[in-house]
Amino acid sequence: MKWGQWVNSAILILATLTGIAAFAYPFFTPTTGGSPFAIAHAQDAPSVTLILTLLCVVIIVANLTSRQMSARTIAVLGVLSAVNAILRTIPGPGGFSAIFFLLVLCGYVYGSTLGFLVGVLSLLVSALIGGGVGPWLPYQMFTAGWMGLTSGWLPDLRRWRIAELLMLAAWTALWGFIFGAIMNLWFWPYISTAQVSPGQAWETGLPFREAIKRYAVFYLATSLWWDAWRAAGNAVLILSLGTPLLKVLRRFERVLGFAMDTSI
């Protein structure tokens, strides 16, 4: 199935690029401000972005689940998504939510495909039970899916327990920051200069490097501390709960004997 794997990867990468293009769509508003057309262009941005990103997520999921899956794979995916969704709803101190650590562990043990699906579906399930269905959901699903997917790329260090734990903790912390940065980018272009100080806001026609610099300032000023708290919390969870949870997940890999057919 080498050929099929290539096609799957191509679909995933193309859909992600399209998602990013749709995501970056508000930044491409024409520089000729003032004309009615520029206004129209700026205005269809939120809905265009939303619909196209949703379509991209749907297409990836449809492609990954296009072959008949075994009952065991389906059951495991359902249960892991449910556990992850519950972990997200458990409120922690200071807006902390434990959504990352089990997702990273699942991707690491069970591989990229299952990691992607668990990421996407657990965010969807937790939105459905917690009532978080809104325009932000497709981005969250996309980002969480990539978090699970890339966790499957980590080297298998099961011989060196300490190194494995440290690697997973650092990885979770890193993704905590990336997740926050991507989620902020969603509404950043819509914040006007009036709401934040001028050095941090998006303006049309900004050169790329200046835009990056401004976004970095905005990120440092607003969301860094939240994200740092969340990243550190999830890393601590990995350090303290990682070893026993990895043992459980690996045992059930053997007991259930499931395998993903479509691989990326």
Binding site: V7, I11, L14, T18, A21, Y25, F28, P36, F37, I39, A40, Q43, D44, P46, S47, L52, V58, I59, V61, A62, T65, S66, R67, Q68, M69, S70, A71, R72, I74, A75, V76, L77, G78, V79, L80, S81, A82, V83, I86, L117, L121, L124, L128, G131, V133, G134, P135, S192, A194, Q195, V236, L237, S240, L241, P244, L245, V248, L249, F252, V255
Partner: protein, 384 residues
């Protein structure tokens, strides 16, 4: 439930589209009122005392916490609006119409307080709150299982996974409580983060064991035929037939072509001045992706155990929502200024109001006007 799932989807399309594109404050406030009426009707129908004789009283009682949760969420949204308004008023000193002047030597907030800043804060918050309210109403009006039934056939496995997860969650919460009680009885204390190991590990183990039981019962009922992917030796497992393989290839090819067209179209539209070519490419891409989804679903034959009833009021509400959608789309193409609002100079600070859009907004309130169970419940409470 009062309406068909497709009716709710039409309503979501019309209302969310309006909420996402509209910035004019008067229209936002009208939209909040219209959607608020629907929200009130939905939350009244979800209250357990509203339908005492309902057959599925237990499921309605389960909805009551959802109403409370959403009301709290909306109150939170309202407070965010107020705080943002206050900040915008104090920190943005742009605009020509000065209401009062704070002493210049006060840090940050010193300077003129303008009417424009007030209006902008109000308008921004109103359009944000309208989005929240639309999605809150949709979440409350339609439960997830009914929505999942309308997934495209090609996505049925993903839908199955989500409905398994949704029905597992109450069981998992119950077992979380049981494990916690058992550990407390043993004298375990939950203090540091390490003390959570005896809670999490049994929870994950129970959950995965339950998934094994579930998979066995699914296989016993004939789900998926022979479990060929669980068999490691590929010579034992039956190979996919040629028609199946060609459908898969067709579907993957269409998907790739669609994604390419979409990507090229987006980049084109972003960089080039010939806008309609990019738009055409985007439309072609979307069409191809839908075709791929359709091909994937065509292989499956779907049966429904329970059919939803399509009633006359569903027709009326759907038509109203489609009309509203059409008016909004027409306005966005022909008169985009009717949706745009920016009070600071050089634009005028006074909000406008377009009667056509007002009509489109009022049309989204039709679910509340035609709501069936309200009259019934009044009648029943009068009798009782």
């Amino acid at each position: 439930m009062a309406y068909h799932t497709l009716t709710w989807l039409a309503w979501l399309g019309a209302a969310a589209y309006l909420a996402l594109v509209n910035q004019q404050p008067l229209q936002s406030i009208l939209l909040i009122l219209a959607t608020g009426t629907v929200f009130a009707a939905v939350s009244r129908a979800n209250q357990p005392e509203a339908n005492p004789g309902a057959r599925n009283a237990s499921s309605h009682a389960g909805q009551a916490w959802k109403v409370q949760g959403w009301s709290a969420f909306l109150r939170f949204g309202l407070s965010v609006w107020l705080v943002a308004l206050f900040f915008n008023l104090l920190f943005a000193h742009a605009g020509n119409i000065v209401l009062l002047v704070l002493p210049r030597n006060w840090p940050f907030i010193g300077g003129p307080i303008t009417l424009e800043a007030l209006l902008y804060g109000l308008a921004n918050g109103a359009s944000l709150f309208a989005v929240l309210l639309v999605f809150a109403t949709f979440n409350l009006g339609l439960d997830a299982h009914r929505l999942l039934r309308w997934l495209p056939a090609g996505l049925y496995q993903a839908g199955l996974i989500v409905s398994i997860a949704l029905s597992f969650i109450p069981q998992l919460i119950a077992s979380l409580r049981e494990i916690r009680e058992a550990q407390l009885l043993r004298g375990h204390k939950f203090r540091a983060i390490r003390d959570w190991i005896p809670l999490f590990v049994p929870l994950l183990t129970t959950a995965l064991e339950r998934s094994l039981t579930l998979a066995e019962s699914m296989e016993a009922r004939g789900f998926g035929g022979i479990d060929r992917f669980a068999v490691a030796d590929s010579s034992v497992s039956p190979m996919p037939t040629t028609t199946e393989r060609s459908t898969t290839n067709l579907q993957r090819g269409t998907t790739l072509a669609g994604l390419l067209a979409l990507l090229v179209g987006l980049l084109w539209r972003a960089t080039d001045s010939v806008q309609w070519l990019g738009l055409l490419s985007v439309a072609l891409g979307i069409l191809l992706l839908f075709a791929a989804l359709y091909t994937q679903g065509r292989r499956l034959k779907r049966t429904h155990y329970h059919h939803e009833l399509w009633q006359q009021r569903d027709t009326l509400v759907s038509l109203a929502c489609l009309a509203s959608l059409a008016i909004t789309a027409y306005t966005q193409v022909r008169d985009p200024a009717a949706l745009f609002y920016y009070p600071y100079p050089p634009y005028s600070p006074w909000p406008g109001f377009s009667p056509a859009l007002g009509l489109a907004i009022l049309l989204t309130a039709t679910p509340a006007w035609l709501w069936p169970s309200l009259h019934v419940s009044y009648y029943e409470t009068d009798r009782g």
